[in-house]
Symmetry: C2
């Protein structure tokens, strides 16, 4: 089953204790697509400016990602700058230049319409809803959001996620969205808002999946060195949804294989961990499916008792 991802393509300027890079390829849709490409066909809907070259596009194409839904507009691509201090879980934003992203009106190309999975990365909730309406045939829809939309676009966001199948957010977003500090209670409230499957991402501390009355927890992979956590959450989503798509997994079905759903969380964790090993999307230039499966097995060895 193939996946359509809608979200940002960006150029990031990142400083971490391990170094600094300027204007490197990034954005939620980019990270998600690269990550999910190890599992299934991925199609991107995004907007870029004139500074987005064939070389940039080739990073995606080399991984077999369908880039025909990327709109090329006049102006500059979205640019973000941020830095990580000792706490690698949290970025301090230096600047956000939306540029062409400001006028992003995502549309699903007709040749994407047969995709069964739709992932709505972090964009304005109304745009997410609009895309959802354009792709009613998607068997499984869900996405991500962020503190800004939760705080200032609450009504739109709640209306948007009401008919999502899954939501992947981080712990502070889950707390803000639910108004509950305790994650178990936060999850109960969020599931009542619509998505029957919720993944709360906790950065270096791992992730928790909530599905119906069950939850599954995984600790974060213990990296020896974290170069750059930018995009790790999007890569997690790519691994998670990618694995479900590869398996042709239907979350709406009456009989859910809970073990497979848990394995999707592990694949998400695996991809998120690889993402941190180099700056930007660099790790994906050499990463193989064999590397991914080896780390999946490492997760088992480190958590099984």
């Amino acid at each position: 089953m193939s996946i359509v991802v809608v979200g940002s393509v960006a150029f990031d300027t990142i400083a971490s204790p391990s170094g600094k890079v300027e204007g490197v390829l990034g954005g939620a849709a980019t990270y998600f697509a690269l990550s999910a490409s190890y599992f299934t066909d991925v199609r991107v809907v995004a907007i870029v400016g004139e500074d987005f070259t064939a070389e940039h596009e080739n990073v995606l194409k080399k991984r077999g990602v369908d880039t025909r839904g990327i709109e090329h507009a006049k102006g500059k691509t979205f640019r973000w700058g941020g830095q990580y201090l000792d706490n690698l879980n949290e970025a301090k934003t230096d600047f956000t230049d939306l540029n062409v992203f400001q006028n992003f009106q995502p549309h699903i190309p007709s040749h994407y319409q047969d995709s069964q999975f739709l992932f709505l990365a972090n964009i304005q909730p109304d745009l997410q809803a609009m895309v959802r309406r354009e792709m009613k045939t998607a068997r499984l829809t869900g996405g991500d959001t962020m503190n800004y939309w939760i705080k200032d676009f609450r009504g739109e966001l709640l209306a948007t996620i009401r008919d999502w199948d899954f939501l992947l957010i981080n712990d502070s977003e889950a707390r803000m969205l639910s108004g509950e500090h305790n994650l178990r209670r936060a999850a109960q409230k969020i599931v009542e808002m619509g998505p029957h499957t919720l993944v709360i991402k906790r950065g270096e501390y791992g992730a928790i999946l909530f599905h119906r009355d069950r939850h599954f927890m995984v600790p974060g992979y213990l990296l020896e060195k974290v170069f750059d956590p930018t995009g790790a959450g999007d890569c997690f989503a790519g691994g998670f949804i990618g694995y479900l798509a590869e398996k042709g997994f239907d979350l709406k079905a009456g009989h859910i294989d809970n073990k497979e759903l848990s394995r999707a969380v592990i694949y998400g964790s695996v991809l998120g961990s690889f993402c941190c090993e180099k700056f930007g999307v660099d790790r994906f230039r050499t990463l193989t499916r064999a590397d991914i499966d080896a780390r999946f097995n490492e997760f088992r060895a480190c958590t099984e008792f």
Copy 2:
């Protein structure tokens, strides 16, 4: 196999978002002993003042804990006051009145000498070393420490832990002791300091065990409500060492059953989680071994894939 625990018995005044209690029974040795008592015989070495009554002692005795090594001195018992704000992982200390604990000179009673396990809770490293010398026959020795000793008594601490088998500390202590922020690298450095088995406790985020070239990770149990995290780390230690003692597990042996070692970490996590469900040691008034084993199985269900 029985365990001797050396550490504090205290009266705690605790405020958390769930309420407030004043002068309730606490202290590292108390929490450790109650927790380990579900697995094996536990013997306490501690010092208390005249305000420590038969009623307090009965909390331990009811769980079969040997209290004959508790010295009754003139004056008041150690008192600690602290509060937890929204971040339940960290206490803000309001006061520390050492009282009789200031002159604590721990000695192992002769009828404790046949114990195979020695747990040195967080006390002055020189006192830990002294007790260790008094109990050379212990097959397995280890303990806990805290930021104060790491910072201001580094030499004594390093000399003390050099011949320990295991060390259980929290993540910020591990970082301070090793000078490494990354926990994997921190663990490598600490293991080189002596203890062949290291458990890094991460509060609500679980724990990591390092043993030789292997590590095992467990996420924290997802409590619906945390009343009071005081003592959770000591209860973790009690569950961990308690299970190893129950199994007659010899960490020094050439062939270590890694799965059993991992299960000890789970039992530690289970006991730590129960500790948080009521203020002070209250949860141990009703907790049964069946409750503990049920939560052990819950851990498996929540982490297996």
